[in-house]
Amino acid sequence: MKKLYALLFSAFMLLADNARADVNPADAENFVKNVTQTGIEELINSNASTAEKKERFTKLFNQDLDLDFIGKFVLGRYWRTATPKQQEEFISVYRKLNIQTWSERFDDFKGKHFEFLGTENSKSEDQIFVNTQVPMDEGKPASVKWRVKKTGGNLRIVDIIIENVSLAQTARSEYTSYIQKSPNGIDGLIQELKAKLK
């Protein structure tokens, strides 16, 4: 009987192991390497015009960031109470605003170089963390952690955690707090976000 349990247990562990291996660490790391290279080392440091940079950023972010997923997350429980029209409108404006915000974030890393420090598992089977650090002019290097998710065979970034601060968690606190206080709820938030678009 004990042997049977042991057998079952090891079979279970094998399965669990397989589930963990859903996202190949090396693939995830290469994927982030590619994004930082095209996004930062090539794009930001290039002499392209602002308009051209914006166009290339838009393409890069639409392709490599899972903004539908992030958008759902940042609305928290309000996502479920939103009407399909509100959901669609929110994702649309959130996508545009993020491309704007993230290009600015990437601008902060101008002339900087990312060092890759391996990966860490996530609780979710389809996700993995890629650890990097950026040497700064003074003091300790800044830690930048990338949360990578596998969706339909493709790898996508779903969060960037800079010096322990998760952009997705921070946006979630901001948006849920806004909706809670706003008399117009989600519609108020959508209007406010539209006003932020340049």
Binding site: K72, F73, G76, R77, W79, L97, Q100, T101, E104, E120, N121, S122, K123, S124, Q127, F129, E138, G139, K140, S143, K145, R147, D159, I161, E163, N164, V165, S166, A168, Q169, T170, R172, S173, E174, Y175, T176, S177, Y178, K181, L189, E192, L193, K196
Partner: protein, 257 residues
């Protein structure tokens, strides 16, 4: 004579502690939140009308070379606090390195304005009493907004005051013999203000970006501040930073409120 800066900090903290105690006494989280938001708005107004314009003016009349000298000067004054606190945390090698930095930079580095020690393999490795308390298992307490100093917690506030006492400006103030009271006050108050403005100047772009795209700046700052503090670590000597805290799940109703 107690440092004017310390007097101001103690005064501000007494005011804040009064509000926190009140919030706790009435067992009402929203009382603290109300106080925090009011103080946050006050700080924002002070920043919009006074602090940020002065920081921009400072940037306009100085070159980056001068600003770096100023940053290094004030950074060097934090070195004694770093030395003491590395020792309190049991990191005696780091404490020695920090002391070496202070001695080298204060002399060869011309009163700390040049970071000579960095080039000699003694890079900056700052710590403070807040981190020491964290390693000693002192809990952090709730998020509070201090007048002018901004986001903090009770433990971070205690750290702020303790580190200030280790600042050579404080000692100099205590033992100063030159000039009359007014001259000494002007000197120290001027230095403290310059340090504050230099700090604000370094963060002009950062804060502009943070506020530009935010619909609720207070919530953004609060969330980012709390997350960032987790990297200080805990008393077990391990980082409290845990990937679990970033693992998100839509169906979890209780992970925010």
């Amino acid at each position: 004579m107690r440092s004017l800066k310390t007097n101001i900090i103690i005064m501000l903290i007494s005011a804040v502690l009064f509000h926190i105690t009140l919030a706790w006494a009435t067992d009402d989280d929203s009382a603290l939140e109300t106080y925090n938001r009011a103080m946050f708005n006050f700080n924002t107004a002070a920043d919009d009308y006074v602090i940020k314009p002065v920081a921009k003016g400072y940037r306009a009349v100085t070159t980056e070379f001068i600003r770096e000298r100023v940053r290094n000067f004030f950074g060097n004054l934090k070195e004694p606090a770093t030395t003491i606190n590395h020792s309190l945390q049991g990191n005696f090698a780091d404490s020695g390195k920090s002391l070496g930095r202070f001695v080298i930079n204060s002399t060869l580095g011309l009163l700390g304005t040049f970071d000579v020690a960095n080039g000699w393999g003694l890079p900056k490795n700052k710590t403070g009493f807040d981190t020491t308390l964290a390693k000693w298992c002192v809990p952090d307490g709730p998020f509070i907004v201090l007048p002018l100093f901004g986001p903090s917690t009770p433990r971070a506030t205690v750290g702020l005051v303790a580190d200030d006492v280790a600042d050579p400006i404080y000692w100099a103030d205590y033992y100063a013999t030159f000039g009359n009271d007014l001259e000494r006050y002007s000197f120290y108050y001027g230095l403290t203000t310059l340090g504050f403005i230099s700090l604000r100047e370094q963060n002009i772009e950062l804060l502009d970006k943070l506020t530009a795209n935010s619909v609720d700046v207070y919530s953004t700052v609060k969330s980012a501040y709390i997350q960032n503090r987790l990297k200080i670590g805990s008393c077990a000597g391990q980082k409290t930073e845990n990937n679990d805290s970033y693992d998100f799940d839509f169906d979890d109703e209780d992970d925010f409120e």
